[in-house]
Symmetry: C2
């Protein structure tokens, strides 16, 4: 997580801005699930299932760092944390839905293209 990149970032176009910040394996999915009301780390982890707890935690912390999500830590006896989307995060929802729709409506062809 404290990794300093050696190859300069590409900011030349919107595509690269998107990619530099949202390339993480679960980031878009996390933003989507948070938008549906799953806010707590445990909930998100159970929902995603195949992803390791720490991987999700890393992706979430980057989303916070980059301003897509904010983290609320409650001061309760039993630890409680909730994530919520910032305006920037919300601005991504149409894009995410568009990507998702493209993938689903081409699922047949895409699955054949995937190895094995």
């Amino acid at each position: 997580m404290t990794y300093e990149k050696k190859i300069p970032l590409r900011k030349d176009c919107g595509l690269h801005l998107f990619k530099e910040l949202l390339n993480g394996k679960w980031k878009l999915m996390l933003i989507y699930y948070i938008s549906t009301g799953l806010k707590r780390p445990g909930e998100l982890q159970r929902k995603i299932g195949t992803a390791d707890r720490r991987v999700l935690a890393n992706q979430l912390s980057e989303l916070v760092l980059h301003g897509f999500v904010s983290k609320v830590i409650y001061d309760t006896k039993v630890p409680k944390v909730e994530y919520e989307l910032t305006d920037l995060g919300k601005s991504l929802l149409p894009v995410i839905l568009n990507l998702e729709a493209w993938g689903e409506s081409n699922r047949d062809v895409l699955e054949k293209a995937l190895p094995v």
Copy 2:
């Protein structure tokens, strides 16, 4: 390029279908430029500039393999190759434009989020 993945692919949702196939650093950009009429490898390479010839060639060959782009090899004395979008490739253009538009319209915020 002949790399066998060890972690099973995720086909569970449209987002992952998209990601598994189009995660490459220059893939979306290549599809976009091809749609604008840049068809030959040399043209594309000069346009992108910062990307190495071989990296672009790899990404293009994957795009061909996965059915987004087709490759036409002309039988001329001086080698000539052209790429063109398949229907599947064309179906991506609205998505690409949407991503690009999101990135550009949030450029100010996004650039501040990027390290250094």
